[in-house]
Symmetry: C2
Subunit: 331 residues, 2 copies
Amino acid sequence: MLKLKAYLATELPRINKTLDAEVAVLHPLVRPVAEHVLRAGGKRLRPLLTLLTARTLGAEGGGLFRKASGPDLYPLACSVELLHSATLLHDDILDGADLRRGLPAAHTVFGQTETVLAGDALLALANRIVARYGDARLTETIAEAIVRTATGEIVEIAHQRSTDHGHDTYIDIITGKTAWMLRASCELGALAAQAPDEAVQAAAGFGLNLGIAFQIVDDALDFAASSKDTGKPVGGDLREGKLTPPLIYYLETLTPQDRDAFVTRFRQGTFDDAAVAEVAADLRARGCDAKTRELAASYLDKASSCLDALPDTSERRILRQSIDYVLNRGT
Amino acid sequence: MLKLKAYLATELPRINKTLDAEVAVLHPLVRPVAEHVLRAGGKRLRPLLTLLTARTLGAEGGGLFRKASGPDLYPLACSVELLHSATLLHDDILDGADLRRGLPAAHTVFGQTETVLAGDALLALANRIVARYGDARLTETIAEAIVRTATGEIVEIAHQRSTDHGHDTYIDIITGKTAWMLRASCELGALAAQAPDEAVQAAAGFGLNLGIAFQIVDDALDFAASSKDTGKPVGGDLREGKLTPPLIYYLETLTPQDRDAFVTRFRQGTFDDAAVAEVAADLRARGCDAKTRELAASYLDKASSCLDALPDTSERRILRQSIDYVLNRGT
């Protein structure tokens, strides 16, 4: 893992500098909102994926492998991070979430109107940054990512408090709301490198499967023993009525009677803190979080197969490390 | 005016069919919201501008001047209408507006979450439709329009209930929130026709100035004698604290003492129905609405000059009619 962390440490200043510079054009009414959500952190996984994919496929970007003639990859790499930040702003309003990575969510600090508008502005900015490159394939990729991400959020809300769906619908939801952005990050990198179609597809498949696994692990962490790992209250998905794999597995372990009682409370949204803690502990005792990580591992296997189709470079080795990083997050 | 209306009547079925077909891909949670705002009407001015500009500049589109080999212009023409619909959904939430063209605003029927998400989905859809054409100049145009539109709304809200700004800031605001979309409609049409740069600039300038005038007339109509013409309550801008030209002119006619009293109420937002009706009548009696239409006419002159630079076709004559249509709207 050292190499991935070292690579990120090297790249982080320029990624953050690029994000700051792009956000600086926003109007003073919404710029602080954008800066708030960007400063709250995040691992800058999306920009890193674009840089690593582009360099694996030979793009002459900046940073460690910079050549004077190469295009500046950094704004492109940061575009999906800005789109991601836009979705965080809107999601926290729609979810009524008060915390984001342990800090107050933007809408609780700046107000709802400013936060909706800041989300719109960040989304528009991400789109315009990609358009600047003047390459229709790049803009198609970001346009598709915006559609998929919006749709994922919609499908999730349409299924809120429902227990009538299973893994397929769950995978549909997270493919939209999370995985497509990681897919787009890798696809943008491959397209920027002007890689052949098969390599672009392989890079996209790597990002997609990594993203699905990333969200599955996130949903496992939602039932972790403490909120230290996530900065969010334990069991948020249970409170919000989101049927994630740990809960799907948990329901399978219950007697019909216990299951009916659970489903009723889930639909009504009547879990208090004590009930959430009890379910989380019970769920872990029944091995549902471990089983969820196994599900994530199956998608990481697919991600790894996609990587095999890319050139064997030092960046590809770092991309492969990101698979272990996702699998072991919070452990 | 007959020719403009006849042209629109000929085109409307195919424009509406295209809008229906594009919106049909949306998720069932948000599709009714999108259909609601689209069915509430609107004059489809934006698609019409794209079609007319493209055909003036020789694009082989569909409809009256269709040739079998031409690209299908209609989805491109409808993209800005979808972006426009997205902004209506978000704006009515941010403004707390209950009515839209005389019908209940979408968020009062479908709820706030569904309406925010429908707006996001329509915006994403508009962007993806343009990306489908695979032309980077088209995607740059729609990307810029999205940024400008979002920023216009932000600047407007930042200046809400303020009387410290004047015409320049007002023009900045409406250039973003209204005029840039009309500019983009014309620019997309010119680009689709693969027109030379000067023609693209002239088409863009026509749309921009037409759009500025359109919004100025809209703001004059806000103080019309009845709400029949707009489907919105009279004096909505006064209630919402939006300083538009009729109010800027009105303030200039007041004695310092009356002005201070007015500004205090404007900032506090304490105009009731009777007070709004009184201001509207007084404002009309002082000729402030007529003066506002004169301001609009000055931008329509610029729009007309831009048209002079385009080829003298039957579509250009119809574009010129749209200038009279904007000037005389609601009279």
